[in-house]
């Protein structure tokens, strides 16, 4: 046993290694990504680790691995579970063999997400167990135990940490990393693995029959536990439980839900020992709904009574506020303080020297009245440049573009999508657009890496998760094989050439693909590529703000004259924008 200060996701990865994990598959998504990143860089790693092209692919590979008797995990964020929902539902019927854990990390407050959906609802929908940690230590312990729980009930186990678990840190007590000794072996059993209707009807019944013993087992496991201390009770779970424990008075009873499905008889016993109950949980009212079903005459306060909000994340001070409003005593009180007003906002922004900015700048110049559907990635930050008109989910930029075109929208439609996102679910939209003859321009922003989530490699990178070099996929050939005849690869750093290709595309009908290919500026910096820095000659600068409008964080305006700061990464694009040639490469004397 050793104590370390670890990120939640690192602790989760370590828990997997202690459980003798054989295979791991995932698609990056904040806040889930560091689990695979920790596993793939683990020294002397024995397990197989893969970044897959999307969550459905990753899920099905991990499931198949489990069917071969191997312990397997698939990782993603909550919205990724939507992509994998198809195999999820049916895998509950087929069941598993080797322990199979589905990690879906939720993001209350949407710190870096397009919605705030609750993965616990998917577990209930699929009728599989869900483990919901309330601390980093518990996340570590739970994921380790999840593999044996999966093998005990022959079911996938959904493991659902939230942002404040994944990206929080604590001192964690770790166990030993286990050695691997399993051999993959698939035993044919069509009645289990072939879901024709005749088999499915039997499998569905078996799934339902597992539920009662599963509920009892989760109480026995200690993940669902309660302490009776008075006449008022709070029921809580996940990270909210840690806030409740921190602030609630010692005279209040607490039921702590760490696992689903909840045993109704046990929960009813707790509720009926009290006069009044408040349910405190983030996102969906999952605990609250079960509580209401079994409460009898005991009043249940929570989201449905307006005592706790449906959206956003909780915090100790918010929990204290909600407890007080429900007339439940607290031991900590918090001051009400307003943040200082009048500071300019500092939202996330495309890096200095990022070629996505250049590509978007050129798109805006050439397609002044264009409509710009976009996608999920760094380039979503192009919103600030006015070149992101829609964002829904991974892969939805090309489909939204072709949908608008097919609807008869008369403006030029130019959509942007990253390389990883294109491989994730963009391809299907492209081949559909070509086959049905949509009139759109697709710009694939190809920086050869999944940058936003922490630079995970994808099939355009030319290296696998384990660091093995592989031939990089050719986006040009992929697009051509989808039927696109206009495919041009060009670096946006040459603004004149890039703009020329955009104009060519504008003049043609049909699906045009422009691959805006350039390495990520952070990848370059890590590779110690130094392109020098640029400077403005203050006697030449006329203060026209052309470079300022470009939006590069390395360019500032002081007393009406442009100035380039230390953030400059030397892309030199500003020299092509300046109308009076006031910007040049700095010469060291």
């Amino acid at each position: 046993m050793v104590v370390k200060y670890l990120l939640g996701n690192e602790a989760i990865a370590h828990g997997c290694l202690e459980a003798a994990l054989d295979t791991a598959f995932g698609y990056p998504g904040t806040p889930s990504s560091e689990v695979i990143d920790t596993l793939r860089t683990w020294p002397d790693r024995q397990s197989y680790v893969e970044w897959s092209v999307n969550e459905k692919v990753a899920y099905e590979e991990a499931l198949a691995s489990s069917w071969c008797g191997m312990r397997s995990i698939v990782t993603m964020k909550h919205v990724g579970l939507n992509v994998a929902a198809d195999p999820l539902m049916t895998s509950a019927y087929t069941g598993v063999k080797g322990g199979f854990v589905v990690m879906s990390a939720d993001d209350p407050f949407a710190h870096s997400s397009q919605n705030e959906q609750d993965s616990r609802c998917y577990a209930a929908f699929a009728r599989i167990p869900c483990l919901d940690p309330s601390s980093v230590q518990e996340a570590h312990d739970m994921v380790r135990d999840a593999f044996s729980l999966s093998e005990e009930f022959l079911l996938p186990v959904l493991f659902r940490p939230t942002t404040r678990i994944c990206h929080s840190k604590s001192d964690v007590t770790l166990g030993e990393v286990a050695a691997l000794d399993r051999q993959a072996s698939f035993e044919k059993d069509p009645r289990q693995y072939v879901v024709i209707p005749a088999h499915t009807r039997v499998l569905h019944k078996q799934l339902n029959e597992k539920q009662a013993s599963l509920k009892k087992r989760l109480v026995e496991s200690g993940y669902n536990r309660s302490t009776i201390r008075g006449k008022i009770g709070v029921i809580t779970g996940g990270i909210a439980a840690s806030y409740v424990h921190e602030v609630v008075s010692d005279s209040v009873s607490i039921a702590h839900i760490g696992a689903y499905p909840i045993d109704e008889e046990w929960l009813s016993g707790f509720i009926r020992s009290h006069e009044r109950i408040l349910v405190v949980e983030e996102l969906a009212p999952v605990i609250e709904e079960v509580s209401r079903q079994v409460a009898g005459l005991v009043p249940i306060l929570g989201k449905k009574t307006g005592h706790v909000p449906y959206e956003g994340e909780l915090s100790p001070s918010r929990v204290a506020q909600y407890l007080k409003a429900a007339d439940i005593p607290v031991k900590l009180d918090y001051p009400v303080i307003q943040p200082p007003a009048g500071l300019p906002v500092r939202p996330p922004i495309l890096c200095a020297g990022c070629m996505h900015r250049t590509a978007m700048y050129a798109i805006r110049k050439v397609f002044r009245d264009g409509i710009f559907p976009s996608d999920i990635g760094c380039y979503t930050l192009g919103l600030q440049l006015g070149v992101v008109d829609t964002t829904i989910c991974m892969g939805a930029s090309i489909t939204v573009a072709s949908g608008m075109a097919q609807a008869g929208e008369k403006h030029d439609i130019v959509c942007t999508i990253g390389d990883s996102t294109f491989l994730h679910t963009g391809i299907q939209g492209l081949l559909n657009a070509v086959y049905n003859d949509a009139n759109i321009t697709v710009v694939i922003l190809d920086n050869r890496i999944t940058a936003m989530t922490g630079h995970q490699p994808n099939p355009t990178t030319g290296v696998t998760a384990s660091g093995v070099e592989r031939p990089a996929v050719s986006l040009e050939m992929l697009c051509r094989s989808c039927g696109v005849s206009f495919v041009e690869t060009v670096s946006p750093s040459d603004l004149v050439q890039f703009t020329g290709v955009l104009k060519d595309a504008k003049a043609r009908k049909g699906v045009k693909v422009i691959i805006a290919k350039q390495p990520c500026v952070i990848t370059e910096r890590r590779a110690k590529i130094n392109r020098g820095k640029y400077r403005v000659s203050s006697d030449i600068c006329i203060g026209c703000k052309a470079c300022i409008k470009f939006g590069c964080p390395a360019i500032e305006l002081h007393s009406g004259i442009a100035l380039i700061t230390d953030l400059c990464s030397g892309c030199g694009v500003c020299t092509q924008i300046c109308p009076v040639s006031a910007i040049s490469l700095e010469v060291k004397e």
Binding site: S135, P344, T453, E556
Partner: protein, 192 residues
């Protein structure tokens, strides 16, 4: 009760590394610690925060008005988060600030040093020449460690555990550089 520290700055300035050093020092001393930090989208040059609760066994979040100490790598970010400080707490901040791009692209009024200090108001603030000291230590990349050193005498942790934690956390080749930065920061602020 825990001793709660907020580390703030701009994505890429080393908030996570600095919080790791504090966490490591807690592990060295056998003290419970909880931390929360900003990843993903918010890191791209945006305003970021790391919360560290020394001696805490429950959650990682610090409420406004309750932090014991703020370490800030940018003067403007010190102002953005100063309301997290409790009465009697200290802010250790870099003297410099990066003007957000939004000032230029969206025509926000650009705040000057005087205005920022005005926003910080009555909070006890110690302004550190982090860049100059980091240069003196040998690399401007050590500004975060200079500020950690400056704030270190106000932390409920031994100087030796902090220095050990620096050695364990930073890249091997830079240990000496960072320890020098820590010492320079600590020397400057030992009088506060």
């Amino acid at each position: 009760m825990s001793f709660d520290v907020l580390i703030v700055g701009i994505g890429g300035q080393g908030t996570i590394l600095t919080s790791n050093i504090l966490g490591e020092a807690c592990v060295i001393e056998g003290i419970h610690v909880r931390g929360a930090e900003t990843h993903g989208m918010a890191q791209r040059g945006g305003s970021v925060e790391s919360q560290i609760r020394i001696g805490q066994e429950y959650g990682p979040q610090i409420a406004p008005g309750t932090a014991d100490l703020i370490i800030s790598f940018d003067l403007m970010e010190a102002a953005r988060y100063c309301h997290y400080l409790k009465k009697g707490g200290f802010i250790f901040t870099s003297q410099e600030y990066v003007v957000p791009t939004s000032v230029f692209t969206q025509d926000f009024p650009a705040p000057d040093e005087h205005m920022i200090m005005g926003l910080i108001g009555d909070y006890k603030v110690i302004v550190v020449e982090a860049r100059r000291l980091a240069e003196e230590a040998g690399s401007i990349l050590t500004q975060n460690i200079v500020l950690l050193g400056a704030a270190s005498s106000h932390l409920p942790l031994q100087e030796q555990s902090l220095r050990d934690a620096v050695s364990r956390t930073v890249p091997k080749k830079t240990i000496e550089l960072n320890l020098k930065a820590f010492d320079l920061g600590r020397a400057v602020c030992s009088t506060h």
